[in-house]
Amino acid sequence: MAEEFPVVSADAEALEAARLLATQRLPGLIVTDERGKPCAILPASQVVKFLVPGYVQDDPSLARVVDETLADRVADKLTGTTVRKLLPERPPELPVVKADDTMLEVAALMARLRSPLVAVVDGDRIVGAIAASRLLELAMQPH
C-alpha cells in the first residue's frame, strides 16, 4: 500500500517545500529531523494557512477588502523561511504506521489525526507514505 514519497528536512527552505507540493500536487510532505527520522507531517493546507496573514485569519472578511496585488504577493512570505516555521507550534501526534499495519488501522489513524498523509516506517527508517487518495483507491478496488 505504501508508495515512495518526497521527504523534506525541517531546516529546508519553505519555498522549496511549497514548490514540491505545488508541482507534484501532493497532499502533504513528510518532515524529518537532523537524523533523518520523521518528526512531522506538513499538510499542504498548513502551508496555505501560513500564507494567509494573521489578521485575515482572525477576521476573514478582510480578505475581500485587500486588492489582488497584495494577494498575488503573499507567496513572498515563504522566502527566507524554513519548513520548521511552517509547522504548528505544538505539533500534533506524528501519523506513522508500520509496514504490516492493515488498511483499517491506517484509515483509523488518518481519520483520528485528520492527516492527509501517513508515513510508513520500519524502526526509525521511512519506507514510504500513504496518502488519503491512495487509501481510497485501494479501498474502492473490487474484491
Binding site: 496573514p53 494573521g54 489578521y55 485575515v56 482572525d58 477576521d59 472578511s61 478582510l62 475581500r64 477588502v65 485587500v66 486588492d67 496585488t69 497584495l70
Partner: protein, 429 residues
C-alpha cells in the same frame, strides 16, 4: 461564619489575582464552599438581589453578547475602520486618532474585548500596508476601548454591576459619565503624539497601498446590516426610556437579542460562539461570594470603617474611592473588584444626605475602576486580548512596555476626572 466568608473570599481573590487556578474554578469553588458550609444558602444565593446572583447583570450581558454575535457578521466595523484609514490619507497619526475614536465610540456600546477583537485585525492590515509598527496603534486602541467603555451603562461590565446595585439608569450614565469621558478622550488624543513619539514616520509611497483597500467589500449582507441597525435603535430607545417604561435593561437586551435572531434567520452556531459562558458563570460565582460577605455583615462593617476614615464627608470618600479603585483595578480584574465594592459603596451612600454627593461615590467607583484598568497589561480583559493579538502578529508587547504607557494614561485620565467630580457634584451641585 463571618470569618469563614472572609477567608474563602480572600483565598479566591488570591487565586484570581495570581492565576494559580482558572478564575472560574476559583469563584465557583469559593461559592460551593460557602454553600456547603451554610455561610449562605439557596434562598440568599439564588433569589436575593442583595445577597445573591444579580440576574439583571447576567441576562443583560447574555442579551448583548447575542446581539454582538449577529452584529459582528455584518462587517460594519471593518467598513468604518478602513473608510477612516483612507480618510486619514496615509498619515499614521491621523490613522491612530481616527481608529482610537472609532474604538472608543464602539466600546461605549459593545464590550471592550469584542471591540478590540473587531478593530485589531483592521489595524494590523493598515499598519502592514503603511509599513509602520502596529504596537503603538494597538496600545492606543485598547486604552481608548477602556476609556470609551466607561461612558455608558453597557460599555463595561463594572458599569452594569454598578447600575444594577445603585439603581442608576442608562440615561444617568449617559448624562454623568459620557461628558467626562468625551473630555478624557480629547486629552488622551492630545497626548498621543508624545506618548508614541517616533511612531509616525511613513514612506510616502506606502500611502497608495492604504488607499487601494476597498471597504465596501467588507459588507457582504446589506440586509443583515439594516436589520441590525433597526434592532439596535430599538434597544437603545428601550434603554433611554427606562424611566417611562420601567423595563429593565436586561429585559430590553434579551428582547432585542431575540428579535435580531428572528429577523436575521441565523443559526445558533452563527451567533452563540459570541456568548462567553465562562464569563457569565464567573459573574454568578462572584455574586454568591460577595453576597455571603453582605449576608454576614462584613460589607456593612467595612463601610462603617470607610465612613469613619473619611469622617463621613462625601468629597474625601469620593476621592478615596476614585484613587483606590484606579490603583486596585490596575492589579486585579475590575469586575470582581467592583462586585465587592458595590455593596460597600451602597452602604456608604446611605450615610450621605445629599443625593448628588451620594451619587458621586458611584461615579468615582465607575471612573476609577474603568480607567484604572489601563494601568497594567493585566488591568482589564481587553489588555490581555491585545497582548495575544500582538504576539500572534509577530509584534509582541511586553508587560512593562504596556505598563509604561498604561501608567501615564491612567495618571492623566484620573487627573482629569478628579476635578470633574469635585466641580460637578460638590462645587456646582
Amino acid at each position: 461564619m463571618t470569618v469563614v466568608a472572609v477567608l474563602v473570599f480572600v483565598a479566591a481573590y488570591v487565586l484570581i489575582a495570581t492565576e494559580w487556578v482558572h478564575r472560574l474554578l476559583a469563584v465557583l469553588g469559593g461559592a460551593a464552599i460557602l454553600l456547603a458550609l451554610g455561610v449562605t444558602d439557596a434562598e440568599h444565593a439564588f433569589y436575593s438581589h442583595d445577597t445573591g446572583i444579580d440576574w439583571d447583570v447576567i441576562f443583560l450581558l447574555l442579551g448583548m453578547m447575542i446581539i454582538v454575535g449577529v452584529l459582528r457578521r455584518t462587517g460594519v466595523f471593518e467598513y468604518i475602520a478602513i473608510w477612516a484609514a483612507k480618510r486619514a490619507k496615509g498619515s499614521p497619526l491621523r490613522v491612530m486618532v481616527l481608529l482610537t475614536v472609532i474604538t472608543a465610540v464602539a466600546s461605549a456600546f459593545l464590550d471592550n474585548v469584542t471591540t478590540v477583537l473587531l478593530v485589531a485585525p483592521v489595524t494590523l492590515l493598515v499598519c502592514e500596508r503603511l509599513d509602520v509598527n502596529p504596537v503603538p496603534f494597538l496600545l492606543a486602541e485598547v486604552f481608548a476601548s477602556n476609556i470609551g467603555g466607561a461612558s455608558t451603562l453597557i460599555g463595561d461590565p463594572p458599569n452594569i454591576i454598578i447600575a444594577s446595585r445603585s439603581g442608576l439608569s442608562f440615561n444617568d450614565f449617559l448624562l454623568n459619565m459620557a461628558p467626562i469621558i468625551v473630555i478624557v478622550m480629547v486629552v488622551f488624543i492630545l497626548i498621543l503624539p508624545r506618548l508614541f513619539k517616533g511612531s509616525f514616520e511613513v514612506d510616502p509611497t506606502r500611502v497608495e497601498r492604504v488607499l487601494g483597500l476597498n471597504e465596501r467589500e467588507a459588507i457582504e449582507d446589506r440586509g443583515l446590516l439594516l436589520k441590525c441597525a433597526a434592532v439596535l435603535l430599538l434597544v437603545f430607545a428601550g434603554f433611554t426610556t427606562h424611566t417611562i417604561t420601567h423595563i429593565e435593561p436586561s429585559v430590553i437586551a434579551l428582547l432585542g437579542a431575540g428579535l435580531l435572531v428572528l429577523l436575521s434567520r441565523l443559526e445558533p452556531r452563527d451567533y452563540m460562539p459570541s456568548v462567553e459562558w465562562q464569563t457569565l458563570l464567573f459573574f454568578a460565582g462572584l455574586f454568591v461570594m460577595v453576597g455571603a460577605l453582605v449576608k454576614t455583615g462584613v460589607i456593612e462593617r467595612l463601610a462603617s470603617w470607610a465612613a469613619d476614615a473619611t469622617g463621613g464627608a462625601a468629597l474625601p470618600a469620593a476621592m478615596l474611592i476614585l484613587v483606590v479603585s484606579a490603583v486596585l483595578s490596575a492589579v486585579i480584574d475590575n469586575i470582581p473588584y467592583v462586585a465587592t465594592m458595590s455593596p460597600l459603596v451602597e452602604t456608604m451612600t446611605t450615610q450621605i444626605p445629599d443625593q448628588a454627593q451620594a451619587e458621586a461615590l458611584w461615579w468615582a467607583l465607575a471612573l476609577g475602576a474603568d480607567l484604572g484598568g489601563n494601568a497594567t497589561a493585566i488591568g482589564a480583559s481587553a489588555n490581555v486580548v491585545v497582548l495575544g493579538i500582538a504576539m500572534r502578529a509577530g509584534s509582541p508587547i511586553s508587560f512593562w512596555e504596556f505598563t509604561r504607557k498604561g501608567l501615564v494614561v491612567t495618571a492623566v485620565t484620573i487627573a482629569v476626572v478628579a476635578p470633574y467630580l469635585w466641580l460637578r457634584y460638590f462645587v456646582l451641585a
